[in-house]
């Protein structure tokens, strides 16, 4: 009964309605229509895969002899070194280096010494002089060099689309070729990483020249037919269709849930304080743990309810597609991933919101959670990057179920830490709630106590100056107990 009453109270709160709107906005901008598109592509017998396309063929069975089967990450030293040199040269010429400290873009401009350092790296890597580097042949680097495309003239297609022609066919020059005409690394792979380390030191944290970034952006290779079939089988049989979509759905939902949920907790607790509910409710028989726990559960249900409803937009067509295609689908995949990936993050955000709001009497929790969310967003890669204190599980692809298997233990540890942390925060909220004295509550009480301590130390210090430690003790005693 209390659970329903708490839910009713929260669900008409302006902050909750705003949360639902923001959730809808995020969902509509990122995930809405993805499932329909995948199903439509899968139903289309003609293979319409294109290079650079990330989504659109998770459900489509690869057809042998197709021009392209998708991309994959691989440790290809030649490609990585070519991409790194190409990118570093572009940035050196413009003296504009992109960095992503904490995941957010920041442009770096180097002074003369820094530019000289980068030039030295490029010279050693390519074996070319500064003058030669400034006047490279058009096809020195491969036309498709990782994420860099050296384009030539454009061609207007009959359907109205405009296609850019590459300067040259994608290729990595043979070692026997002239290093002045085509990029041929002049250093070993080990020395290359040392040089990239120097570049990273010169430019700053989060540049393109860290191992992770270079591998992610330039260590891309094309999938073979067999690999594409293997990937398809993983989606159809391992993930049972819905699992892949549930992961991507949760990836998009985890960001608003982990951030905005804290606002709901703060708003509800502040509403209690504003209306001085502590006076009426605190004198009632209900146990604090029951009241706080029920309120927490009600808010959690309200946070996850719209998420669960939004998942139906993907779940319903997927189930219909599975039935049509005679494939087995995991009916509970969305629910499983919501409970496994989103629930702990939402629990943590709500518990932190309740604790800090009850403790300080201010919406400080929003700032604290915001900082954590911001740092977590910046420091966590888009897929398969889980650490013990990662707030949000990212998996920004329909593929990659192997990443979940690979990181399963860490995922469990991480979610376990968040759930345990949330329960601890909740227990602390109960303790704060029990101890909270409304009249002198919140920040005011703590400020007075801090001021009191400060004064006490001042008095003690004065006593110590005059009569040593004994004097300090007596002064402090007299200060806190004037009668003594």
């Amino acid at each position: 009964m209390l659970f329903l009453k708490e839910m009713k109270k929260c669900c008409f709160h302006a902050v909750y309605l705003l949360f639902v709107c923001l959730l809808l906005f995020e969902w509509h901008g990122n995930f809405y229509g993805v499932t329909e598109k995948e199903i439509a592509t899968a139903k289309n017998s003609e293979d319409s895969r294109q290079a650079g396309q990330i989504n659109g063929f998770a459900l489509q069975k690869p057809q042998e002899g197709a021009a392209y089967y998708g991309s994959k990450s691989e440790d290809a030293p030649d490609k990585i070194m070519a991409g790194a040199a190409d990118h570093l040269l572009i940035e050196y010429r413009a003296n504009s280096y992109a960095t992503y400290p904490f995941g957010y873009y920041k442009e770096i401009r180097l002074d003369q010494t820094g530019q000289k350092g980068i030039l030295a790296i490029l010279t050693e890597l390519t074996g070319l002089t500064e003058n030669e580097l400034q006047n490279l042949p058009g096809d020195y680097f491969p036309a498709a060099n990782g994420v860099i495309f050296h384009t030539g003239a454009g061609v207007m297609e009959p359907d109205g689309s405009y296609v850019l022609e590459p300067n040259a066919k994608e290729e990595v020059a043979e070692p026997s070729d002239d290093y002045r005409q085509h990029f041929i690394p002049q250093v070993s792979y080990e020395r290359f990483w040392e040089l990239m380390g120097k570049a990273e030191d010169t430019i700053g944290t989060g540049s393109y020249y860290s191992k992770e970034m270079l591998e992610a952006y330039f260590g891309l290779g094309e999938m073979s037919y067999e690999e594409a079939v293997e990937e398809y089988k993983k989606t159809i049989y391992d993930d049972k269709i819905t699992g892949a979509f549930a992961r991507l759905f949760c990836d998009y939902m985890t960001r608003p849930v982990s951030l905005y949920a804290v606002c709901i907790a703060a708003a509800v607790c502040l509403m209690d304080q504003r209306h001085r509910m502590r006076e009426l409710a605190g004198s009632k028989r209900i146990r604090t743990i029951k009241w706080v726990g029920t309120r927490f559960a009600a808010m959690l249900a309200l946070v996850l309810l719209p998420v669960a409803l939004l998942s139906l937009e993907s779940w319903i067509p997927l189930m219909a597609y599975a039935k049509e295609s005679g494939l087995a689908a995991d009916q509970g995949a969305f629910l499983k991933y919501i409970l496994w990936w989103l629930l702990p993050s939402a629990m943590e955000a709500l518990a932190l919101g309740m604790l800090l709001t009850e403790w300080t009497g201010t919406p400080a929790a929003i700032a604290v959670q915001g900082v954590w969310w911001f740092l977590d967003t910046g420091m966590t890669r888009l897929s398969g990057d889980v650490k013990p204190f990662t707030l949000m599980i990212r998996h920004n692809t329909l593929n990659g179920s192997e990443l979940v298997h690979k990181n399963f233990a860490m995922l469990c540890i991480n979610r376990g830490i968040l759930v345990t942390g949330a329960l601890l925060l909740l227990a602390l909220t109960c303790a704060v709630y029990e101890k909270r004295e409304t009249e002198y509550g919140g920040v005011r009480m703590r400020c007075e106590m801090a001021w009191d301590c400060y004064n006490g130390f001042g008095v003690a210090a004065a006593g110590a100056t005059e009569e040593g430690l004994g004097g300090a003790a007596i002064s402090l005693l007299r200060y806190h107990n004037p009668a003594s």
Binding site: K5, M271, E279, L280, A281, S283, R285, W291, H480
Partner: protein, 295 residues
Amino acid sequence: MEIRIKDLGKSYGTHRVFDHISLSMGTGMYGLLGKNGAGKTTLMRILATLLEPDTGSVTMNGVDIRDKRKIRGMVGYLPQDFSMYPNMRVAEAMDYLGVLAELPRGVRRERVSVLLREVNLDSERNRRIKELSGGMKRRFGIAQALLNDPEVLIADEPTAGLDPEERVRFGNLLASYARDRIVLLSTHIVNDIEVNCERLAVLDGGSILFQGRASDLRKLAEGKVFRAEAAPEEFEWIKRRHKVIHMQQHGNRTTCRFLCEQAPEETYIPCTPTVEDAYIRLLQTGEGACEHAVS
């Protein structure tokens, strides 16, 4: 039913609200008088288990105040300055507080209906809390405090902000509940106590100045209250020497009522003291009497 308070002490940081106070209360209406900031609300909040005392003990019918759940089942509390979710409707708010009081559904529904009728809010049951007048809010307060049919009803400044008619109605309402339970009424309006309470305690400067019957408090001021009709110069002289309780201007003469410890000049007329006179004298002199010593 009995409340026993022994050697109770409470401080906020270095500010001592009260120290070693002892009180005993039985069934009936009991008044707690004191200036603003005397510690009445703190004492009430301790009795309502919203605050924990630093020292001393409180028992209600032998149940220690630290057994919060049991005490909360026995106590109904009407805070001085309470509020409720403004958009909730009266009956809905009562039901919500009934859930917090852990009343079973059937009992809750019945109690809500009965209490809203008793406090004359039945016709307002579907009005939002924010639409209630000050008097209605106070009546809502008393109704919610009685939800669990408490043995002890604690009302902190319940008549503050009410018009005279509402104050009388409210006092009578509280008095009607005092037949078979303890109703503890805290106020700084002496008249409320004088009209409704048989026994009272006066709290000042962190200690109990007086506890006993209202008539005994009045006796303490016998022979100490006088009336005079004075010219301006004489009135100024009275004001300098005595504590003036009331004054009324009649042209250039002032009729005043004042406290005087020793019999003054014969021109001043002795008056029968009221509880208010005695209370003011008590605060001025600090000379009180404590009827019961809690052992």
